[in-house]
Amino acid sequence: MTEELHREIGHDEYNPVGTLVLIALYFLVLLLLWLFVYFIEFLGRDLTVVGVVI
């Protein structure tokens, strides 16, 4: 492994900016999918179970 290392990066000089990009994309995907599945797929369906209207 060591021979493949190009440089040693310590804690203080490391900013995981690539991780931030990936995780921001993931956040967006989760948000959009949730809105789609909850509000369109689920609430848009027939025969929704409601409380008994008295």
């Binding site: 492994m1 493949e4 290392l5 190009h6 440089r7 040693e8 990066i9 310590g10 804690h11 490391y14 995981p16 900016v17 690539g18 991780t19 990009v21 990936l22 995780i23 993931y26 995907v29 989760l30 999918l33 949730w34 599945v37 909850y38 797929e41 689920f42 369906r45 929704t48 179970v49």
Partner: protein, 576 residues
């Protein structure tokens, strides 16, 4: 350079045995999985549809319990001994728990396979969840109980070894892998108690005819008290491997040791008081209890989301040390030729997708949409079937040489294997999720009905079936490649010089940066117990209050005739 087998030859032998047991279960489970996809889609029905459920029971139990738990017992033993740099206290005890787990599995397997064989009057066609009044042969429950006691002894072995280390090193921080083993063990004691009570107090005596009936809602609730946490029993070792091994093979360091500890503490606290989210659509449980389980489950997302960040950041650290640059360009600098890395990375990616379907499953009222549909099957094939299973297979390419001294036969076949699993699971799980949204049920031999058709949002059912069959076949192929690679590796000679040193990733921010209170496991255990009592005391009390401890009844099924059951059948006839 020291490999694991050189440092710990006795422990390596036990871990080899746990791995081989796991692999036998994987082989049978994978074959039965293939039979199921062919049967459900009506491509080829090798067995009678009534026997499909025996195949499904074996597939579920062997893969979800036997494969995963034997493998993780090996992984934990490796992680504990490596990080403490000391062997187990008494390896005979280690063999004892392994033996008990094997014995339990073998006992339970007799009726599970017996159900498939004409002339054997034993069966356990009750699926992985064994909801009463479905009834299995007593050997099934007995085997299960022994297996669980075996896992408890394994946990005791790990705690015992840790305490011995603690006496030798009174002032050191608990090494991270050991911390993860211990938190998982404590959590497992707490959560497996539910199924132990269900099996030992109710189901085993009932199957022996000592109890006339049980409370189906109570045993079901006790099952899910364990049934959701058990997924964390598979996931926590997977997370451990992502935290301590993945950064290493990526050429980097773990981003933050203290945050990894926070994540495992959160799992210890939150994993158990969530099981009722499997019972959102159960009558007999008040909506308020369901809402509490929902909020607990949603907060349980937190440790997983934190893990996503820490693990990706650790991998990125490796990529940048290897010369990677840019916002996304660093991804190209990762060791994609290495099946250990690629397998774990693809498993993690699939788990990100599984995160979404899991969020839907956790959402209380949206459960009406997906409950018991094929969607659920798609979901857990991404979690236990990929995040866990693919990680375990990938890590085998790293661990097997450590515990046998023999290099992997072909790393290229290994790479092809993990990629095949990923592609196969993509196709199968996509079709399962989509089928579920159109209402296709899970756990059925023939999801083709006479009086109505399922209508997918787009495309056709035939396309979804094709997705399941092609995906399932690729998965089976991948399992065969994996087992073949392992087998050929074992027939090869030892070559210790070509095997890397047994080690795990260092941390950029080490244990010394974390507050000492993180290591106070007694405190966390007390809080975990308290949370469980707060969440479960009232619903279980209410269920017992409603139906009675031994329930309002229902009829045992199937009514098999054999000695142990004669009493209850006799009683049944009196009632009838």
């Amino acid at each position: 350079m020291t490999t694991y087998i050189e440092r710990f030859p006795a422990e390596a032998r036990v871990i080899r045995s746990t791995f081989f047991t796991a692999f036998i279960a994987l082989g049978i489970g994978a074959l039965f999985g293939l039979l199921q996809v062919l049967h459900r889609t009506d491509v080829h029905r090798l067995v009678d549809s009534a026997d499909y459920y025996h195949i499904l029971t074996i597939h579920g139990v062997l893969l979800a319990l036997t494969f995963t738990i034997f493998f993780l017992a090996g992984v934990f033993t490796w992680g504990l001994t490596t990080s403490l740099d000391r062997g187990v206290v008494d390896v005979r005890f280690t063999w004892a728990w392994y033996g008990l787990m094997v014995g339990g599995t073998a006992l339970a397997a007799i009726p599970m396979f017996g159900g498939l064989i004409d002339g054997i009057d034993m069966s356990a066609g009750v699926l992985f969840t064994f909801y009463a009044p479905l009834q299995a042969h007593p050997l099934f429950y007995l085997g299960l109980a022994l297996f669980i006691i075996g896992t408890w002894l394994a946990g005791a072995d790990w705690i015992w070894t840790y305490l011995a280390w603690r006496r030798e090193n009174p002032d050191e921080r608990i090494p991270l892998p050991t911390f993860m083993v211990l938190t998982t063990t404590l959590f497992w004691y707490l959560s497996s108690l539910g199924v132990a009570i269900a099996v030992v107090v109710f189901l085993l005596p009932w199957s022996l005819g000592l109890l006339e009936q049980v409370n189906p809602l109570l045993t079901r609730t006790l099952f899910w008290y364990f049934g959701h946490p058990v997924v964390y029993f598979w996931l926590m070792p997977t997370y451990m491997l992502w935290y301590v091994l993945l950064p290493k093979v990526a050429g980097g360091k773990l981003f933050s040791d203290p945050l990894a500890r926070v994540v495992f503490v959160l799992f210890l606290l939150l994993s158990t008081p969530t099981g009722i989210h499997h019972q959102y659509l159960d009558p007999g449980i008040a909506e308020g209890f369901k809402f509490i389980a929902m909020t607990n489950t949603m907060f349980l997302l937190l440790p997983s989301l934190l893990t996503a960040f820490t693990v990706v950041a650790s991998v990125e650290h490796g990529a940048r040390q290897r010369g990677g640059t840019g916002y996304l360009g660093w991804l190209g600098a990762l060791p994609w030729r290495d099946p250990v890395f690629t397998g774990m990375a693809l498993a993690g990616l699939m788990f990100a997708a599984a995160g979404f379907s899991g969020m839907v499953n956790a959402g209380m009222n949206i459960n009406y949409l997906v409950h018991n549909t094929f969607w659920i099957v798609g979901h857990f094939h991404l979690t236990v079937g990929t995040a866990v299973a693919l990680t375990f297979m990938a890590v085998t390419y790293w661990l097997l040489p450590q515990i046998t001294g023999k290099p992997i036969w072909s790393r290229s076949v290994g790479l092809a294997q993990v990629v095949t699993w990923f592609v196969g699971m993509t196709l199968m799980s996509n079709a399962m999720h989509r089928g579920g949204l159109s209402g296709v049920p899970r756990r059925t031999a023939e999801p083709q009905y006479e009086n109505f058709d399922f209508t997918p949002a787009f495309g056709t059912m035939a396309e979804l079936d094709a997705g399941v069959v092609i995906g399932g076949s690729l998965l089976f192929l991948s399992a065969v490649l994996f087992l073949g690679n392992v087998f050929v590796s074992l027939t090869g000679g030892k070559d210790l010089t070509s095997i890397p040193e047994n080690a795990y990733a260092e941390a950029l921010s080490g244990a010394e940066d974390g507050p000492l209170i993180l290591d106070n496991l007694k405190l966390w255990l007390v809080i975990a117990v308290l949370l469980v009592v707060l969440t479960y005391a009232l619903p279980i009390g209410a269920i017992i209050d409603r139906g009675g401890l031994l329930g309002p009844g229902g009829s045992p099924y199937p009514l098999v005739v054999e000695s142990g059951r004669a009493i209850s059948i006799g009683l049944g006839e009196v009632v009838a």
